[in-house]
């Protein structure tokens, strides 16, 4: 022992540790805390900040007037790269500690003030991952009590001790070798952890599951592709084999209405993606939003955005819930901007469609018929419809209620689809064709839509199609990022760009989150291998 340490030594008796304070382990985050959403702005306890998924913070310290003084306060380096994709996480924060998942199933607890980590977790992944090797991403934790919940690229659901990162339980969602993986941030509600599954480009069958947070036992499962004879099976050929590999992934987060006790979740493409000859029919519940009873997982209502999809236009976009005045009467709505290029508003209690209108120049369809079905003009075989990544995608949008604006990242692209009968090989994707994209004829844009009409109110154009998500704050700001790596702030009223910071890597899949720490508002964005925190420069 050196002299400095010797001087520092204080003899600690057993008695000093046996105080009640010492024995009292913190119980952490409760369901009621999550229910409160962002009303306590020091917290961000679920993927989008609250169950509504509006990703709209009440914080107002950073304003259109002072945002030019926004500077990075720290950068966290993950040490893990995401081949071909992005660092897609939304950090959670509680009691000054950020809980962050990374690519390749890394995870950390990070001090929100300094960016230094308390612990790191890394899953020892098998070397024969299927979908998980092509998209080695993760979008975040769910949390309850002193437990964190995280899904993995080998299609497991883990519970970690939030204090140490130790695994508390580990259960298999599905066999990854078939083509399954999991990448979303679990949705934690009262007594349940809700997750979905990736792998719809393979011969798989999607589902939404609820698990017991304490034990990891499964409470219910909703299969997104019906079994033989079940409701919805009439929209498929009468062939159990086709149903069993019908796709319908559920790989992005859903939202929750605690009063109606309904979960809203998007469902992905039917499989094969581009080849539909062996699956005539609408192919429910692919490319739909489903409203599920949170207690039982039973289907309350659904709406299919893209019947008999031939373009890989998964409907795994964030469903955004709001209570708004709809043309003179109060309505509980769910809004969703879809990969097919339409923006939809639905009554979330009944599923009644209130609005469906294009927000890009898609030539697939321009209007819906009297039965709320799209009038398809071009299925993609005649050129120039949105590419398979779609007119928007899983990058979270934001709803700014006071302005009545739905703000999203739009992608204007031009692709031709050439379907081809696929071979089904275990663990290999079955897209069923190829796609030709005109790279000289595409761009991205941040767009603000009037939710009453779907009309474009303003836009800010990006050089290329972009996967960055959106955050808004009650001070009138929009935070978004682009494919060229700029993290930006805009005036929510008119889309004027007010500030930008070059992160050095495209912002892909991630949206910013914000929280207050010691009286100072911070905004965080993940990009490349870094998570960076920003705050107003102190005098």
């Amino acid at each position: 022992m050196n002299l400095r340490r010797l001087v520092g030594v204080i003899v600690l008796t057993i008695g000093a540790f046996l105080t009640p304070n010492f024995l009292l382990a913190q119980t952490g985050v409760s369901y009621e805390d999550i229910l409160q959403g962002l009303s306590d702005p020091t917290r961000w306890l679920t993927y989008s900040g609250d169950y509504s998924s509006q990703r709209h913070s009440p914080l107002t310290q950073i304003t259109p007037d002072n945002v030019k003084r926004l500077v990075p306060t720290w950068t966290f380096q993950t040490g893990t790269t995401t081949r071909g994709r992005g660092f897609e996480t939304s950090p959670l924060v509680d009691d000054g500690v950020l809980y962050v998942t990374g690519s390749n199933n890394y995870a950390w607890a990070i001090d929100a003030a300094t960016g230094r980590s308390f612990w790191q977790y890394r899953r020892n992944l098998p070397n024969d991952l299927t979908y998980g090797s092509s998209a080695p991403v993760n979008r975040g934790f769910g949390m309850l009590g002193d437990r964190l919940f995280m899904v993995t690229l080998d299609a497991h659901l883990l519970s970690l001790d939030s204090k140490t990162g130790n695994v508390l339980w580990d259960i298999e969602l599905a066999d990854y070798r078939v083509g399954y993986a999991a990448t979303l941030a679990p949705l934690v509600i009262d007594g349940k952890v809700i997750v979905g599954i990736s792998g719809g480009d393979y011969a798989t069958r999607g589902f939404i599951d609820a698990y017991n947070p304490e034990t990891g036992e499964r409470i219910w499962r909703f299969n997104t592709i019906p079994g033989p004879g079940e409701p919805g099976s009439e929209t498929w050929p009468d062939d159990p084999d086709i149903l069993a590999r019908g796709g319908g992934g559920t790989w992005m987060n859903g939202s929750y209405d605690p009063e109606l006790d309904l979960i809203y979740w998007g469902v992905g493409n039917p499989n094969p993606d581009y080849y539909g000859d062996d699956r005539p029919g609408d192919n429910l519940y692919s490319n739909s939003i489903v409203a599920l009873d949170a207690q039982t997982g039973s289907l309350r209502w659904h709406y299919q955005f893209t019947p008999h999809d031939l373009n890989d236009w998964d409907s795994n976009q964030i469903p955004v819930l709001a209570d708004i005045d709809w043309r003179g009467e109060p309505r509980k709505v769910v809004m969703l901007a879809n990969r097919n290029g339409f923006f939809y508003v639905m009554d979330r209690a009944t599923g009644e469609l209130l609005l469906g209108k294009p927000f890009t120049a898609t030539t697939w369809a321009r209007e819906l018929d009297e039965n709320d079905r799209p009038i398809v003009l071009n299925d993609g075989s005649q050129g120039c419809v949105p590419d398979p990544w779609g007119s928007t995608n899983f990058m979270p949008p934001s709803f700014y209620q006071e302005l009545g604006l739905f703000i999203l990242t739009a992608r204007e692209t031009c692709s031709t689809y050439v379907p081809e009968e696929p071979q089904f090989t275990l663990g290999q994707p079955s897209f069923g064709g190829v796609v030709f994209t005109d790279r000289d004829n595409q761009y991205g844009a941040l767009r603000a839509l009037d939710v009453q009409t779907g009309d474009l109110v303003w836009e800010f154009r990006y050089p290329s199609p972009t996967f960055g998500g959106v955050l808004t704050t009650a001070s009138g700001l929009v935070f978004a990022g682009d494919h060229e790596g700029n993290f930006m702030a805009f005036d929510a009223a008119n889309g004027e760009n007010l500030w930008h910071y070059q992160t050095g890597s495209r912002i892909w899949g991630a949206a910013a989150m914000t929280h207050e720490l010691d009286g100072r508002q911070h905004v965080l964005i993940a990009a490349g291998t870094t998570l960076t925190a920003f705050a107003l420069i102190e005098d």
């Binding site: 520092g8 057993i14 893990t80 580990d170």
Partner: protein, 271 residues
């Protein structure tokens, strides 16, 4: 040496075949890989050579003692019973995709000496013939230890999770940990005493530190961080937060029961 080279050649061919097998996704081949023998197994001079190579090439991330800094603790590889010589060889050869662990084109001989070295310092399992009453040991554990130590999801987080301690620490090491815990303190459990700006004294475990800040788990098991300039005092302690359980606190017989119980903790490796 010729003998070793021959063996090595044989092992390499076998390994290549097995690697192909694993890529094909058969679990049978995992078992077959376990049968590949390191040509330098227990060879003292090869182990020394492997140690030199390890310290030069691996210690930056894995630590000079292989117990892990930024990268995992390698002394637990064999004890956890999830690996074997060939898999360790393969991991060194190919690296870990998506992490900073690189692949290497080093000759097979060098890799095998590193494998031999790592195996030589690998922690061994508790012997199965331990005496003591594990049921009583569990009761002792739950009333004295579980406020700080977690087992299978139950207990505190101040001390290490002991769910599989029986697989990674032998009886002698566990006895030392109970009787004289300060003799060896893990890198994430170094005790610190802080006095903040308001004069409040905080006792905790250092989890991370840079020139300006320190991150700790305090004694109420809360993760907290402090700016060093705001602290009146920051002292690193050499006495573990784990109390010393001498013969007066826990008799030899009780200790025997406790160790028997700890030896049974070999929880499924899930990470």
């Amino acid at each position: 040496m010729r003998k070793y080279n021959k063996l090595l050649q044989k092992a390499s061919i076998k390994l290549s075949l097995m690697v192909l097998g694993i890529v094909a996704g058969s679990s049978v081949n995992q078992t077959s890989m376990a049968q590949i023998v390191n040509p330098y197994e227990s060879n003292a001079s090869a182990i020394r050579a492997g140690g030199v190579l390890f310290r030069a090439r691996c210690a930056t991330c894995h630590g000079a003692d292989a117990k892990g800094i930024e990268a995992p603790d390698l002394t637990l590889l064999w004890a956890l019973n999830v690996t074997n010589d060939a898999l360790v060889f393969q991991t060194i050869r190919e690296g870990v995709s998506g992490s900073i662990m690189p692949s290497t084109s080093a000759p097979d001989t060098e890799i095998w000496t590193i494998v031999a070295y790592l195996k030589s310092i690998s922690t061994v399992a508790v012997s199965d013939n331990a005496s003591g009453d594990s049921v009583r040991g569990q009761q002792l554990f739950e009333s004295n230890c579980s406020s700080c130590h977690r087992v299978n999801g139950k207990g505190g987080s101040l001390g290490p999770d002991l769910s599989r301690i029986g697989a990674i620490r032998d009886r002698g090491m566990l006895t030392t940990s109970v009787r004289t815990p300060s003799a060896s303190i893990g890198s994430s459990y170094r005790p610190v005493t802080l006095i903040d700006g308001s004069g409040q004294r905080i006792i905790g475990l250092k989890k991370s530190e840079d020139a300006f800040s320190i991150q700790v788990m305090d004694s109420s098991q809360r993760l907290r961080a402090f700016n060093k300039q705001d602290l009146q005092q920051l002292s690193e302690e050499s006495i573990s937060l784990m109390p010393e359980w001498g013969p007066e606190e826990i008799s030899d017989r009780d200790l025997d029961d406790l160790l028997r119980y700890l030896g049974t903790l070999r929880g499924a490796n899930s990470d």
